[in-house]
Symmetry: C2
Subunit: 284 residues, 2 copies
Amino acid sequence: MADNDGPFARSTAVRRRGGGDAAARTTGTDATPGTTVYDTMIVDGWDIGGNANGGYLLAIVGRAMADHLGRPDPVTVTAHYLSPGQPGDATVEVTTIREGRRFATARADLVMGGTVITTLGTFGDLSDGEGALRVDAAPPALPPVQECTAMDDREGFPPSFMDRVDLRLHPDDAGFARGEPSGEARVRGWFRFPGDEPVDTTGLLCVLDAFPPTVFNAELPVAWVPTIEFTAHVRARPAPGWLACEFTTRFVTGGFLEEDGVVWDATGTLVAQSRQLALVPRAG
Amino acid sequence: MADNDGPFARSTAVRRRGGGDAAARTTGTDATPGTTVYDTMIVDGWDIGGNANGGYLLAIVGRAMADHLGRPDPVTVTAHYLSPGQPGDATVEVTTIREGRRFATARADLVMGGTVITTLGTFGDLSDGEGALRVDAAPPALPPVQECTAMDDREGFPPSFMDRVDLRLHPDDAGFARGEPSGEARVRGWFRFPGDEPVDTTGLLCVLDAFPPTVFNAELPVAWVPTIEFTAHVRARPAPGWLACEFTTRFVTGGFLEEDGVVWDATGTLVAQSRQLALVPRAG
């Protein structure tokens, strides 16, 4: 479904086992009826501290689901993260649940030994996007890109995933890396792929999980926040150019936190929302 | 899993096919390995205009998932709504995806002829709930229950689901029913089950989809908003008493809207969040 050949598209490529096209619903070896198996590879370098970024993994699964269903756009996808993804060969197993006129629903697992992520998604075609009836929010107030803080210019930090994407944080939200959190559980910034590789709607699944955790700015004793569940809603195909992104957290309670994301394209159009539930490990 | 015998508990009861207990993971007829089949009934009167309320249906599935997994609390559940649920006999088919120490993940389908809803959930035990590290929100500013607007006191309206629950809307948010929407895409109010039947964490799945659509207050030409996808996060077991609920929508764009819910218990503790993606049918 990728309409380009950049590093992100190549790093999320999937190959239907047994060949055939989407309409044929070719079934791979060991598959149950209605299931297609795709071969893929978790590419080295899309990791944070050795574990592949969750949004990158979800984009791989999204490509397989879109191909299997013959629908290009992930209108809504939910993933439960079960075990860390390591570089190497993997498979995606996609099973149709319902095919409707406008949307189709499938479940899919990313498997590498055990199941890395399990997902449920409804796909469609957003090419004839309708306009906005009501928008009670605005893109984040970001300084120009060149005045924001790149995430790839520090010795040893950030981790290698940050070299695969081009993140520019709002300077007010970038202090956590030098031990000066803003005090607000919020991270805002610009996103693009290096070399201006286009971000399609599957690429948005990566954008929505690409930024540092909001809680890093919250002055809490939290070192990492493993994702339990992540849901993306894609509202529109993004226009070319930088994406303006905002992630916020309101509740760090019961050992959990939620993180809400909103992504706007260069024309000021809302293109995607996300919410994830993550664990807040007890300190010490 | 229901620890009471009230109307909601009885209306969401599930019976493991073939008997046996949760630990035995009894497999029903026609089931794939690791799958348990439950018999249930979509009870008449939990509908809105003839179609069973989505949160009620999700609670039925949640009971089956909790029993199958042997974990009482739906930490996060996502449902995709595929076809309307009608009163009558139905089955829930639950399949384990992963059992961990602290959480277990399963998928489940509610089937009545075809699949009514398909779900993915991670369950655990919230009995030793940790406290709050950070809360950047407050319960909605609701007048006392007796000053709010009951949803069961109008001739012919509201539909029968509203007789199964006890909703009291903030007076400022209740005008839509008489053609006087507030102008804000928001609905706030109190919730309980009639007779003070306890709301357990599975009951929260019903609470989170019980209120009228936010968009009814938004002065848009929208008659109904069919849910595509619904995700609940349960943060804590609710204390007895009225639940304070707030639902908001920020984006009605691209033919879709999201609706975000927050539920607080009588002690002022956040107990659940939700987000759903719904269609905004073209008028006319």
